[in-house]
């Protein structure tokens, strides 16, 4: 069991039209910085490895990098922490503002592929506020899944905060359901977090297990 390579992951995401934050993989600090400047700060740096399942635990993630100085510092730290061992490279990713969501898929011995949805951060870690469906799911079931979680009202917007684009979210759920049915070699996947606001719903962190 290992994590799908970055290039393969990107291929799958594109094949199923799953929108994700602008991301590239680098081994050269110079080229990475050039890309960061192109997509504009702030950016995120994180390792991509086929065998490291918990990259933040080993200091493999730096968020909110505001300029080239911070970028070089973060690159150095991540390189030291990961010792560049067993990693494919370091990802440079745009930072998107919004609510953190989580989508996932796993294969159950009894029922086959299962799709999961929840809010990110403490909502999933502590409150376990998630909903499940057996794939394939249709539009109606995707809407049910989203409305079923206790934190649904947060997604509708509250106290002047704009809600998220629910349609794009349910579309994404259906895309994951399709992916689960068709890509049988993908054993499970986690999109955590997904950044959602009133205009877009973008996958920020992806882990496809083969």
């Amino acid at each position: 069991m290992e994590i799908l390579s970055f290039e393969e992951t990107k291929k799958i995401l594109k094949k199923y039209k799953i929108p994700f934050c602008r991301t590239e993989i680098f081994n050269s600090q110079e080229k990475a910085l050039a890309f960061a400047e192109k997509i504009k700060f702030p950016v995120v740096l994180k390792i991509h490895s086929r065998i490291i399942f918990h990259k933040s635990d080993i200091g493999g993630v730096k968020t909110g990098i505001q300029n080239s100085e911070e970028f070089n510092q973060a690159w150095k730290e991540i390189s030291t922490n990961s010792q560049l061992k067993n990693i494919e490279g370091i990802l440079v990713q745009e930072m998107v503002k919004g609510s953190e969501l989580v989508l996932g898929m796993k294969r159950d011995n009894q029922f086959g592929p299962i799709v999961m949805f929840g809010l990110g951060g403490i909502f999933i870690e502590i409150l376990k506020d998630v909903s499940f469906r057996i794939a394939p799911i249709d539009k109606k079931q995707a809407i049910e899944m989203v409305k079923e979680i206790k934190g649904y009202r947060l997604l509708e917007g509250y106290r002047g905060k704009k809600g998220i684009d629910i349609k794009k979210l349910t579309d994404l759920l259906i895309k994951i359901s399709n992916l689960a049915i068709k890509e049988k070699n993908i054993l499970s996947l986690d999109f955590n977090p997904i950044m959602a606001n009133d205009k877009e719903v973008l996958v920020a962190d992806f882990r496809l297990i083969i």
């Binding site: 996932g104 029922f111 299962i114 999933i124 499970s188």
Partner: protein
């Protein structure tokens, strides 16, 4: 379309002749329980036991092959180690169906599993369907067939009850003895070596005596097949389920969040929801919902509540909100109709729940029930009653039963709270298929099962 397996299951529930292998006159044995229960059956009964010449004052046979007549149904209750031999005899005899009560097979370990597989091989080759092993047996009330060692014979009714646990059936039979609902079929399906849960679901889909299906479940053999078939059957007959085993099993090594959070129970819950199955939390909730579904029609969302006590109405309304049950406003037209009654006209507010006030006599209930049922967007009704000094429960019960006849497609559930002073009225209601619950929460939970999910 009735498939061949469903057709074969007919031999189990409508046999002309039954043989019990391992029949016994010795009280407190399984063999004796089977003999006692089968005595109600009107068809031919044969006993097989090589050690007794006579059982229940009837000739006993040493082997099934010694019986001349054809045998539709064979019940086997002999020690596990000789079951294989007995099954061979049954195959030779070309019996219609086999129920193996004996335990000591797949549930007992590898050795037992091997024997079970051999048995399945034999019966499959012979084309004989098999229920069990490791089960309590089967019951079909309409023809008094009790091919089980249950301690009681159930009342006739229209609930088909499928249970993975035999002891749950025993407990339920005793518990439901005073209830006003009954069973069409009861099946303890044991290890599902051959005939499995989904086969019974398909059979009950077309069974005329069955209106609603109840399942006590611990685990499923084939989840995806179950989903497909349950989805199809639940569109025709409601399926109510109680699932045991909520604990987290071996999720610790999960490599993803999805893996860590998706406990077996969460997945089962999602699967049941997608298959249109009504889920319950306790045996009480399970039978409350089965009772509502076997007595009343289903309806769209939108219920009226009538009460003679504000307290009961508020409790009911709270649970409605929790469970997503819509309480439509009382229409202007309905208010005009209610106002024909002088006392109702004096009510300061006419809202749903409609409080008829503590001094409500039967006439006031009559006007209110008729008016509410007559309103289009009220699809069903809950009639509540707190017993007060002037309340006439029996008369109220009669009014409910009478008015339901005018609106047979709108379900009515009652919540007559009390015991001594209302029992007679409750019995009258339930004998006339109005399910009563003595707690507003139970009444609303039961109503939730009557609402058609869109």
């Amino acid at each position: 379309m009735i498939n061949s397996k469903t057709k074969k299951l007919n031999k189990f529930f409508n046999p002309k002749s039954v043989a019990i292998i391992g029949a016994s006159d010795e009280i407190k044995t399984v063999g004796f329980g089977l003999v006692k229960n089968i005595s109600l059956f009107k068809g031919d009964v044969f006993y097989v036991n090589p050690f007794d010449k006579k059982i229940a004052k009837q000739e006993s046979f040493a082997k099934i092959t010694d019986i001349k007549k054809n045998i539709d149904l064979v019940i086997i209750a002999v020690p596990a180690k000789i079951v294989l031999e007995i099954v061979k005899d049954c195959c030779e005899k070309k019996v219609g169906g086999l129920v193996i009560i004996s335990s000591g097979f797949a549930e007992a370990g590898e050795e037992g599993k091997k024997i079970q597989n051999k048995i399945v091989e034999l019966v499959s080759r012979a084309g004989i369907p098999l229920i069990g092993p490791n089960c309590l047996g089967i019951i079909s009330t309409q023809n008094n067939l009790n091919a089980s060692f249950a301690p009681l014979h159930p009342k006739t009714g229209n609930i088909a009850f499928l249970s993975q646990s035999g002891s749950i059936i025993d407990a339920v039979l005793d518990k439901s003895a005073d209830e006003n609902f009954g069973f069409s079929k009861i099946v303890s399906y044991g290890n599902e070596a051959d005939v499995s849960l989904v086969d019974f679901l398909e059979y009950f889909q077309n069974d005329k005596q069955t209106k609603v299906i109840g399942i006590y479940l611990e685990s499923i053999k084939d989840g995806q097949k179950f989903m497909t078939i349950a989805k199809k059957v639940s569109k025709i007959k409601p399926i109510v389920i109680i699932k045991a085993g909520k604990t987290i099993s071996g999720q610790k090594a999960a490599t993803t969040h999805t893996g860590a959070l998706s406990t077996d129970y969460e997945i089962y819950k999602a699967a049941f929801k997608q298959a249109g199955i009504i889920q319950t939390e306790s045996l009480q909730d399970f039978f409350d919902k089965l009772k509502a579904l076997c007595f009343q029609p289903v309806a769209e969302n939108g219920f009226g509540i009538i009460t003679n006590g504000g307290g009961l109405g508020v409790l009911a309304a709270d649970f409605c909100e929790e469970m997503g049950i819509i309480l439509p406003e009382i229409s202007k037209k309905s208010i005009i109709s209610l106002d024909k009654d002088v006392r109702l006209k004096l009510l300061s507010t006419k809202k749903n729940p409609l409080d008829l006030m503590g001094d409500a006599l039967p006439e006031r209930y009559k006007i209110a029930i008729k008016t509410m049922l007559g309103q289009d967007n009220i699809k069903g009704l809950l009639v509540m009653q707190a017993i007060q000094i002037m309340t006439d429960p029996m008369e109220n019960a009669k009014i409910i039963v009478e008015l339901h006849k005018q609106f047979p497609n709108k379900p009515i559930v009652s919540c007559f709270v009390g015991k001594k002073l209302v029992q007679e009225a409750i019995d009258y209601l339930e004998k006339n298929k109005i399910p009563n619950y003595n707690d507003p929460k139970r009444a609303i939970q039961a109503i939730s099962s009557l609402i058609i999910k869109k």
